[in-house]
Subunit: 344 residues, 2 copies
DNA sequence: TGTTAGCACTCACATACATCGAGTGCTAAA
DNA sequence: TTTAGCACTCGATGTATGTGAGTGCTAACA
């Protein structure tokens, strides 16, 4: 167990390193207000902290740098909660300045403001479509072979895709079918649509529609809506400003990782537990993340979790500030969206 | 005017530099097969070429490097057309392997393949929506206040947006209005929609619709569809591999430029004249492009120009290869889309 | 017994300097 | 007109050396 003095030293080392990005030595520490004992004492304590794995040296006679374990302890136990400045608050409020029409717009704007505020990269996931309910299905034939199918949800989200019409299908049949589908499926949640078709609607269709067989598959495919949340990035190049990324190789692997959206999406989904989550360096099991930390928060409407907002920064990230900002944005976003869904 | 021997030397210098990225000296040149005279002669010729501004030294006793003027001359007069390898051809064909359903998909895939083939960054613009014609307009009320308006074009492109309904509007009126709009506007090109409403449809609406005044503006806004082509990037990080970008500052300004999509879009639009266009280094009047060249080609369906495909690479780019690839992809894309539009 | 002053030691980093080699321009001979 | 030869330039590379911020350890101190 760490003594109070060791904790103090660990905290001051990390605070200083986050601020200046330079290894912290015993002399520097001894000059801090909070620290009342000499550099020699500090050296002894630091040797212990190093042995316990909370700090590291970059080389044998250098100052100390926090290890991942150190950051972890810092985040879990030592974080001093930070108050947002009025300016920060103003910027966050500006996300909601205009009336919300489209969810995606506000989500995108959140990402933008988050990266502005933090100078790191921000990622916003969501909002999930799967719990939305079908408002209207429409199939609009373009020519003999193809049509575009449009699905509108109760939240105003629109999905569309091209479909190939079976050669045998009649325009009147198509219309009839769309009517039946709307009658039966409006109000059903998007995730259940496909299932419901086979369970309940297939029979009705069979009795009414001539080219039933060939259409059923087409329709089922049509309603098989991708349920992955969209991912919005902002400030992708902000990481280039961070001094730890002045090495081309690091930049390359980081950028490659970000561009490889699939893996990154998976990583974010792993962090979608409610509340603030911090994963530090190699805790993120994704190559390219060695020098990065990811902080995520979830937002929701009412009880239902809608998505995730996240900040990707160097491990030497301003954790307390970023957490404060994320908490605030997530909560404001949740409030706004709860309102929005209630009025829908 | 340059002599034949000067042209030969210029060509060999640029070919060599494009290949190896190192300043080219007289000794290196004298060993090339094509060159039958001594290094001393070459030195004399190079001094002349330098005086004329076609090549430069990186420092006083270094080999020569092509200047922008040199590249320009090379591209305009010295380019030896390159044949694509079977492997390249195969990859290009793979763009069109699947049946085309959605234009965007194929455009995106083109961008992907282009960046794969070249190891540079590719950008694809388009296809433009403005010459498409309205197939169907739909307004689906979500609640008392808001509705989602959906516009489908004859090419199957779907645009949607949220609108606020005037408080006074009746559901039956809304339906009536949508019917009128569809009757009058189907087949009208997207670019002319807004105009046509005021010129021809407004009067009809006035006589049939109760809350005419409040609706008209909403409708006009709804139909004011953004006519900018979408921009698809692929291989954004490919430039990081190029040895000329081993300088952090260069990477930063390049990445910042790419992320700043607006300006880049404008730049691309400037290069939208038909056929292949090459702009070298500072010919692109956009900061961050100093060390880059942009090669663009346009694609079309029938007579109508639809968009642009482009490659962004270092000034030391494999011009002839990239041009050959772009030409091929643009032409295949045009053929495919011409077909596609004919069947629509 | 915990704390501190003092000291020898380490190592990254900066500076200075020598060396090397690919390249140049110029001159004079072929 | 071409080319061989030569002195010269300059970036790159390697080596020596000094500086300073940092360390660990020991012994004296409160």
């Amino acid at each position: 167990m760490l003594t109070d003095r060791q904790l103090l030293i660990l905290q001051v080392i990390i605070d200083d390193f986050i601020r200046y990005g330079q290894p912290v030595g015993s002399r520097t520490l001894s000059k801090k207000d909070k620290i009342t004992f000499s550099s020699a004492t500090i050296r002894n304590e630091m040797a212990d902290l190093e042995e316990l794995g909370y700090i590291e040296k970059t080389h044998i006679s250098s100052g100390r740098v926090p290890s991942e374990k150190g950051y972890r302890y810092y985040v879990d136990h030592l974080l001093s909660p930070e108050r947002l400045t009025p300016d920060d608050m103003r910027k966050i409020k500006s996300i909601f300045a205009e009336r919300i029409y489209e969810l995606e717009k506000i989500v995108q704007k959140s990402a933008q403001i988050l990266s502005d505020l933090t100078s790191y990269t921000s990622i916003v996931l969501g909002p999930a479509v799967k719990d939305n309910r079908l408002k209207r299905l429409q199939i609009i034939p373009l020519n003999r072979e193809t049509a575009v199918a449009i699905i509108v949800t109760d939240t105003g989200h629109v999905e569309n895709r091209m479909i190939t019409l079976p050669a045998s299908v009649e325009a009147s049949d198509l219309e009839k079918m769309v009517n039946i589908l709307n009658e039966r499926l409006v109000g059903v949640s998007i995730a259940e649509l496909k299932d419901k078709i086979y369970r309940e609607v297939a029979n009705v269709l069979r009795t009414h529609i001539y080219s039933y067989d060939s259409m059923l598959k087409t329709i089922a495919e049509t309603l098989d809506i991708p349920q992955e949340e969209k991912m919005f990035f902002a400030g992708k190049t902000n990481m280039l400003i961070q001094p730890e990324f002045n090495d081309i190789e690091k930049i390359r692997s980081l950028m490659a990782m970000i561009e490889q959206e699939k893996d990154f999406y998976r990583l974010l989904r792993q962090n979608s537990k409610k509340g603030i989550q911090v994963t530090i360096g190699r805790e993120n099991q994704l190559s390219g993340m060695e020098n990065c930390s990811l902080i995520t928060a979830t937002y929701s409407a009412g009880e239902e979790q809608l998505g995730t907002i996240a900040i990707l920064g160097p491990t030497r990230m301003e954790y307390s500030r970023v957490i404060a900002i994320l908490q605030r944005v997530a909560s404001d976003l949740s409030t706004a969206l709860t309102d929005w869904y209630q009025n829908s």
